[in-house]
Amino acid sequence: MNDGAGKFHHRATVLFLVLLVVLFTSSIALAAFQSPLTAALDQLNRGNVFEAIRSLKLALPENPQANFYLSGIYTRMGRYDTAYRYLSSAIQANPTQAAYYDQLGLIRQYEGCRPEALAAFRQALTLGMKNEEATVWRHIGDVHVNLLEWDKAVDAFRNTLRLRGDDAGAHLALGRIYLDRNDPAAALVELHAASAITPPISGLYAAMGRAYRASGNPESAIDVLTKAIARDPSDQESRYVLAQTLLAEGRAREGREALRDYQQLQERMTQTNSMFEAGVERARAGDLAEAEKVLREILKVAPRYAPALQILGTVLLNRGNVQPALEAFRQSLSVNPLNSETYLNMGAAYLRLGNLNTALEMTEKALVIEDEDARLYNQLGEIYSRMSRPDQSRAALARAVVLQSAPGYQPPDPYGSEGRHRDDAATVRQICGGASLP
């Protein structure tokens, strides 16, 4: 079910970051950049996110703007605590940079702090977003939708389109609002406008099908939904709406067939998810043989499901099957190259094989992505020790002790999808702030 999901996420991350670069460069003259930062941005533009992270971190002391890009990358990775940490440093260095507040708004929105997100977006507008004002208005519209403030959302999306008429996201959002307001004619106008912009965005055709159906034009609904499924067989929303439309039109056989397809795919996803949970549970319980069996079953159905590959690698490593573990990790990285847990485990595997240089390389790669995980420094200390580099070993182990002694530290779950401790609640409290709770 998640075949290619990680790759899609990776591609989406790259696209987002390219946009981020464009957005930022429109606000700050490129000429002001130092060369390490320029190199990092070049990596981003080429889609090499891992190298971009490495370069950005190397560029950091002299280039505080690098914090902003790192924040953007970690936001896309769903690591809002880390993203916020970098963004705070960026804002501290330059508190009047509008793009930083747009980024802050996004982080707060993803964390569920909607009023705070709105405040940040408004601050961005106040400071002046120039060519990217339209994007901020779309972000504002999204928050208003989440807050159920539909009139305000409509105003915000309209502002987006006033500034940038070809914003497909704003057209789709407006179309959905009109659809939910039982105004399918207005919805269709917006949805057609969105469909004229390439590439097509997720959810567009399902909404269009619903709009056609609601406007009393089921044949067009069936046509657009059928084409949507042909274009993307994983478009379950379109498949469900198609089934409902066919059934309502009395085309019971076709409708039931579409529903059967929908159901089979849903069951496959549910089964894969529950098998994955079961596999993880078995691994946590120490029943590694059963865990391996379950995870291999999942991979028969979804061979490029990165979390299953990652956990399978860990299980295999813990069962002493180092080479098969490394193969699983390699496959996992080919889908999701930004998982520090995978690099950590590959480092451990090479360490076990006595290949100290590669073990060091992999552990350092993990540290590029995650530099606050005590386990990485412990592993690094071990590698240095075996490489007879005692000073570096001591320094790494000392860093591990510092991290482990931090208040609230919890050892990461080795069978979590990332195996990384995140104190989200504390982050959210810090970000959302203010409100006294009962």
Partner: protein
């Protein structure tokens, strides 16, 4: 000039009168007044603490309107929860029973021998042993209980002897004669496995947050409990036939449940509203077994294929096409869902088209009724609302913990208009409402509403009946079919229109409505033809009846 002034004055008065009418009342609709306190229904609901640290403290209770003493007045039964502290010592009284004395209600809980304690949730009513007295089943967090009506104003707890003791966390229940053998069977919706020993309280689990603030954990993350179907053996005992009857509940978090004949084949089907999971529709295969057809019927998910958070549900033929439709209440930020029955066990999500979409988004719905509150012949919709998280008040997100009621007037053209503000100031008072039951407690021909408020006193909304429309009601008594005639379908023809309704046990949010069938007739003063299809499949044709009265029909 003077003439002009007089004209302006006249127009002003007309406009003033028009404005006054517009602000205070919906034309042709009744108003509602909360008379709970005046009528003596004052039991304080106990259901967890104020901060709702665990999910078990937040789901609240149901209520029932039923005539336990056969005096012609529907009495009120209110289910009570408990607190975690009390529950460790056995819990609180499961129910409070109010006898309807005509002009007031009297608490007769103790006199009726209803002393069982625990943590109650919902209720459903039926004369399960066909002795002429209505019994009731109470679901709970912990053991459920079946109370037998002894016919002398008292009840006996017969849970153990009847073999319906379910110690799982049960929520909704309904009686229905699925095998048409003349006695009612019992469906129990179960929710989730919960223990305060294993589930962390609010604030101790980073994953349990709502819009950034710590809230109780669940239901996602808890293990769901499967529902149960008990067949009535006809001798005062029941047998768990869940598996044998093909009731395959994939451990969904069950809430509301009803038996209704959705495909008009004369056999009761079962619909279950599930929290955070697809809803289930079990089609009766007429051989003692069921087939789950929720997804293929279009009643499992929303129009766009999303599982919603089903809480309560109600059924009724809102569009007059001769099939029972389904209305399900859902979580805040989502719409409630109206599934229009197209026939042939196919439904279409008609929520938005019916005008029930955007307007409901701020509310978290529980109790629900499709009922003709103004007797115009079209079923309106009542929804009892209240959030589950008290912490939502600390967010500036347009949602409140205490919420108003919704009342949607059926416009007779497939659409509804929300009119709560026009018909009752009391509907607008914020409450954390849960279960609700509809019934004509004052026998004046219009339907009143009993609503349970979490950690608060109940509301009894009296329908003031200003609509002036006519009505007719039927109390059905089975002889070969079950005594309450649960599952009987009544069809009337009046003024050239047909209407249908079914006698139902359970429904709304884990509650139970007055089992009398009620039809609004509008301006028509007579039901020209009445047809009853009894639960055993036999039909009975009756002649015309004058309006504005209750009629008893024996099988």
């Amino acid at each position: 000039m003077k003439r002009i002034s007089q004209g302006v004055c006249f127009i002003s008065i007309v406009l003033l009168l028009w404005e006054t009418r517009g602000a205070g009342a919906e034309t042709g609709f009744s108003t509602f007044t909360d008379v709970a306190k005046a009528m003596g229904i004052t039991a304080m609901n106990i259901h967890g603490g104020a901060t709702k640290d665990y999910i078990v403290e937040a789901n609240g209770n149901g209520a029932a309107f039923f005539d336990y003493n056969n005096d012609g007045n529907v009495d009120a039964l209110i289910v009570n929860g408990s607190t975690l502290d009390h529950y460790r010592d056995g819990g609180d009284p499961l129910v409070v029973l109010y006898r309807n004395d005509g002009n007031t209600f009297t608490d007769v809980t103790a006199a009726a021998g209803l002393k069982t304690s625990g943590w109650g949730m919902g209720v459903c009513v039926a004369d399960y042993d066909n002795d002429g007295n209505s019994d009731f089943y109470v679901t709970g967090y912990g053991p459920d209980a079946l109370f037998h009506n002894d016919g002398n104003g008292t009840f006996s707890d017969v849970t153990a002897t009847a073999r319906v003791s379910d110690t799982r966390w049960s929520t909704g229940c309904a009686f229905g004669d699925y095998d048409r053998d003349g006695d009612v069977d019992l469906y129990v919706a179960n929710y989730a496995a919960f223990s305060e020993k294993t589930i962390r309280p609010r604030g101790r689990n980073n994953l349990c947050r709502y819009m950034g603030v710590d809230v109780f954990c669940g239901p996602i993350g808890l293990t769901g409990e499967p529902d149960a179907l008990y067949r009535n053996n006809g001798n005062g005992t029941f047998t768990d036939v869940t598996a044998a009857a093909g009731i395959k509940d994939p451990n969904y978090y069950g809430f509301g449940v009803v038996f209704n004949d959705f495909d008009n084949d004369g056999w009761p089907d079962i619909y279950v509203a599930n929290d955070s999971n697809p809803n289930l529709l079990f089609r009766n295969k007429r051989n003692g077994t069921f087939e789950e057809v929720g997804l293929v019927s279009g009643t499992a998910l929303s129009e766009s294929g999303r599982a919603q958070s089903g809480m309560g549900l109600t059924t009724g033929d809102y569009d007059g096409n001769g099939y029972l439709d389904i209305f399900v209440t859902n979580f805040a930020g989502d719409t409630n869902t109206l599934y229009k029955n197209l026939g042939n066990m196919l439904f279409a999500d008609s929520t938005v088209a019916a005008g029930l979409g955007e307007i409901a988004l701020p509310y978290l719905g529980w109790g629900a009724s499709l009922a003709d509150f103004n007797n115009d012949g079209w079923l309106d919709i009542f929804v009892a609302n209240g959030h589950v998280y008290p912490q939502v008040d600390s967010l500036k997100v347009g949602q409140r913990y205490l919420q108003r009621k919704e009342l949607y007037r059926n416009l007779g053209n497939g659409k509804f208009r929300e009119i709560a503000a026009d018909v009752s100031a009391d509907f607008l008072v914020g409450k954390s409402a849960r279960g609700s039951a509809v019934g004509d407690y004052d026998n004046d021909g219009d339907l009143d509403i009993l609503s349970i408020n979490l950690n608060d006193r109940p509301s009894l909304y009296r329908n003031e009946g200003e609509s002036r429309n006519h009505w007719i009601g039927f109390r059905l008594e089975g002889t070969r079919s079950n005594r309450n005639a649960i599952g009987a379908r009544v069809e009337i023809e009046a003024g050239g229109r047909k209407q249908i309704s079914e006698v139902r046990s359970g429904g709304s949010y884990i509650s139970h409505d007055d089992m009398r069938i009620h039809f609004g007739l509008g301006e028509v003063r007579r039901a020209d033809r009445v047809r009853v299809r009894w639960p055993n499949g036999n039909t009975q044709e009756l002649g015309g009846f004058e309006a504005d009265r209750y009629v008893v029909i024996r099988e």
